[in-house]
C-alpha cells in the first residue's frame, strides 16, 4: 500500500514564476497594443504605417518582447493544463512535443515577420 506520490524531481517553480512575470509584462503590452491598434487607429491599419513604425529599434524590441512573452505565457499555460488532466506518461510526452513544436513555429513565424518587415 506504500505509495509515492512524488512524480519528478524537476521543479515547477520556474514555470510558475515566469508565468507571473510574463503575465505582468503582457498586461501592460497587450492593453497598450489593443488601445493603439484597435481604438486609436480604429483598425484602419495600413502596410506603410507599420513599415514606418518598424524602423524604430525600440518599437522592434517591444514587438519582440511581446511575441516572446505571449507565446511563452500561452503555451506554458497549455502545458499546465495538460499536466492537470493528462496522467498517462506517453500521451503527456506526445502533447508536450506538440506544444513545443507549435510554440517554436509560431515564435519563428513571428520573428520572420519582424525581420522581413524591418528589412523592407
Amino acid at each position: 500500500m506504500k505509495k509515492n506520490f512524488k512524480e519528478t524531481s524537476k521543479s515547477g517553480a520556474r514555470g510558475w514564476l515566469l508565468q507571473r512575470i510574463s503575465a505582468v509584462t503582457l498586461f501592460v503590452l497587450l492593453i497598450l497594443h489593443f488601445i493603439t491598434y484597435h481604438f486609436i487607429s480604429m483598425g484602419i491599419i495600413k502596410h506603410v504605417d507599420i513599415v514606418e513604425k518598424m524602423k524604430s529599434p525600440w518599437f522592434n524590441l517591444l514587438q519582440f518582447i511581446f511575441l516572446l512573452t505571449a507565446v511563452y505565457h500561452g503555451f506554458n499555460g497549455i502545458w499546465t493544463i495538460v499536466e492537470d488532466y493528462i496522467q498517462m506518461k506517453l500521451i503527456r510526452i506526445g502533447l508536450f512535443s506538440t506544444i513545443l513544436i507549435v510554440a517554436f513555429s509560431l515564435f519563428f513565424i513571428g520573428m520572420l515577420t519582424i525581420f522581413k518587415t524591418v528589412n523592407l
Partner: protein
C-alpha cells in the same frame, strides 16, 4: 421548536450488492436545528439500519464526518438543516475519493499523502533541557494552520484533485506549511523538495474551493501562496 418535513436523497452504495451508486429517498420530520448528522442517525436508527457513514465526536473536532450536502462539503455534525434553505437535502460521499460504502470513503491515500510531507519536526540543532524558545508572534504564524482536523473536506473539494487523484492536496500542503514555518523546524529544504513537484504544490491554481469547504475556516489558499513563494525562493 417546530418540526418540519424534509425530503432527503442519499447516494447509497453497497459493494457487496451494487455495481454502482444509486440514490435513495427518505422523508422525515426534523427539528429546525437538527444537524445533518442527527438526520443520518435518525434514518439509520429508525428507518434503515444498513446506512453507513463515519462520525465520532459530533462537536466538529474529530474530522470524521465530512460529506457533501447539496453540492458542498461540510461536517455533518455541525451543519444544521436550516443552513440549506430548500427543504430538500442531497447527501453524497466526499467527491474525489473512492467509495467504500454509502457515505464512507477511502481516506488511506489522504493520510498517505500526509505522511509524504514528513509531518514531524526535523531537528538538526541540539535539544534544550526545557522548551525551545518561540515568541508569541512566531507561534501565531502557525496557529491558524494547526487548527486543521484532517477532515478532508478541502482536498475533496479541489478541482485539481478531481482530475488528478495523485495531487497532494491542500490538507497535506497545509501541513507542510505548518512545519516549514515553525521556527523550531530544520527540515524546510527536505520538505520543499517534496512539494516542489508536478503532483505537489504546482497543481494548486488558487481555486479557493478548499477555503470555502474548510469547516475550521482556515485560509488555506493564503498559506499555499506563502509556500509557493517560499519554494520559489529556495529553488531558483
Amino acid at each position: 421548536m417546530s418540526k418540519q418535513k424534509i425530503s432527503i436523497k442519499i447516494l447509497r452504495y453497497n459493494p457487496e450488492k451494487d455495481n454502482k451508486p444509486h440514490w435513495s429517498s427518505y422523508q422525515l420530520e426534523a427539528e429546525h436545528d437538527s444537524t445533518i448528522l442527527d438526520i443520518l442517525n435518525e434514518i439509520r436508527w429508525n428507518i434503515d439500519g444498513s446506512l453507513s457513514y463515519r462520525r465520532s465526536c459530533r462537536s466538529a473536532i474529530c474530522g470524521s464526518c465530512a460529506i457533501k450536502v447539496n453540492g458542498q462539503n461540510v461536517l455533518a455534525c455541525e451543519t444544521p438543516v436550516h443552513k440549506f434553505k430548500a427543504k430538500k437535502l442531497k447527501i453524497e460521499p466526499l467527491p474525489g475519493f473512492r467509495i467504500i460504502k454509502d457515505l464512507v470513503v477511502d481516506m488511506d491515500n489522504f493520510f498517505e499523502k500526509l505522511k509524504q510531507i514528513k509531518p514531524f519536526l526535523i531537528l538538526k540543532k541540539s535539544i534544550p533541557d526545557k522548551e525551545f524558545s518561540q515568541s508569541p508572534e512566531q507561534f501565531s504564524d502557525i496557529s491558524e494552520s494547526v487548527l486543521c482536523i484532517l477532515c478532508g473536506a478541502c482536498t475533496s473539494s479541489c478541482p485539481s484533485l478531481w482530475s488528478n487523484p495523485e495531487y497532494l492536496g491542500p490538507a497535506s500542503l497545509l501541513k507542510a506549511y505548518r512545519f516549514i514555518f515553525d521556527t523550531r523546524d530544520d527540515g524546510a529544504i527536505e520538505r520543499i523538495d517534496i512539494i516542489n513537484d508536478k503532483n505537489g504544490i504546482w497543481r494548486c491554481h488558487t481555486i479557493f474551493n478548499c477555503m470555502e469547504a474548510c469547516p475550521k475556516n482556515i485560509n488555506i489558499t493564503e498559506f499555499l501562496s506563502k509556500l509557493k513563494v517560499k519554494v520559489v525562493e529556495n529553488s531558483i
